[in-house]
């Protein structure tokens, strides 16, 4: 009866580890600085000025002219990427979520409207088949 060397499972294990270990990765990319709810809540339509907004949040990422009005955009984006490759097959998933604030000012640079969506923290590492964000 042939005898199996106890070294063989170890070798197989090492081989599998060598094949699989370098085959997966995760990465996280962010753009701009996070936006905090407490900061946004301090802005009061009819009272807060563009100057006060810039003093608190810094320069906006975009300024849009809307006739005599202006709108400032602030955003913070998180991209989480997860991948897995095994010789012939590769799986890659990217999930991008953002914190975003738009602030609208009248001709006198007084805040008239504000809209905020803070979802950057919801970005997930996942595989393509995974259901995330309720989808």
């Amino acid at each position: 009866m042939p005898k199996t060397s106890p070294i063989l499972p170890l070798h197989l294990g090492l081989l599998l580890l060598a094949l699989l270990a370098p085959a997966c990765f995760i990465s996280r990319t962010t753009v701009n600085e996070p936006i905090w709810r407490a900061d946004v809540d301090q802005f009061v339509p009819g009272r807060t000025t563009a100057k006060e907004v810039v003093a608190r949040l810094g320069a906006p990422n975009e300024v849009v002219q809307l006739g005599s009005r202006t709108a400032y955009r602030y955003d913070f984006t998180v991209l989480k990427r997860a991948g897995f490759s095994l010789i012939l097959v590769s799986f890659l998933n990217e999930d991008t979520r953002a914190d975003r604030v738009w602030l609208f000012f009248d001709a006198k640079d007084v805040l008239t409207h504000a809209g905020a969506t803070l979802q950057a923290a919801d970005a997930r590492y996942a595989m393509p088949w995974a259901h995330i964000h309720g989808r």
């Binding site: 955009r73 490759s85 590769s90 890659l92 991008t96 738009w102």
Partner: protein, 144 residues
């Protein structure tokens, strides 16, 4: 046997692979979020409260505004044949490449910032319909 010997190095070097990739960008609007919006009555404030911050704001009819909400969920399975030679990124293409992939809704507001129209579809098509023009990228601008 000979064919196998030719193909094997291609597969093993990663030149030919089956790739399942998925790219999810931004959170879709909640189901029914656009229902109940009334043209001529709903205000910008109500829309911002209900839908959150838009992705884009564009000028519209002078003092009006067009607000766009968008998202994507691209699920792709393919056999990829690739020989990576060089990777480049052009910042001037990022806006166009992003908006091309996004579905969503655009809400148009008149000069009094009352809702004028709701449009749904691919954001690139909706943006064209508004007739908004983006400034030329610096490297493609023509001198006098």
């Amino acid at each position: 046997m000979r064919a196998l010997a030719i193909l094997a190095p291609l597969f093993l070097s990663g030149c030919i692979t089956f790739v399942w990739s998925r790219e999810r960008r931004f959170e879709p609007l909640a189901m029914g979020a656009l229902e109940g919006l009334e043209v001529g009555r709903t205000t910008l404030s109500e829309c911002l409260l209900r839908l959150g911050a838009p992705l884009y704001v564009w000028e519209y009819k002078g003092d009006g505004a067009a607000l766009a909400w968008g998202w994507s969920d691209d699920d792709e399975k393919r056999v990829a044949v690739s020989i990576p030679l060089e990777e480049r990124f052009s910042a001037s293409l990022s806006y166009d490449s992003e908006i091309a992939k996004l579905r969503g809704a655009v809400l148009l507001f008149d000069r009094d910032l009352k809702l004028e129209q709701v449009r749904e579809g691919w954001l690139r098509d909706l943006e064209r319909g508004i007739g908004r023009r983006r400034p030329a990228a610096a490297e493609t601008a023509q001198g006098p």
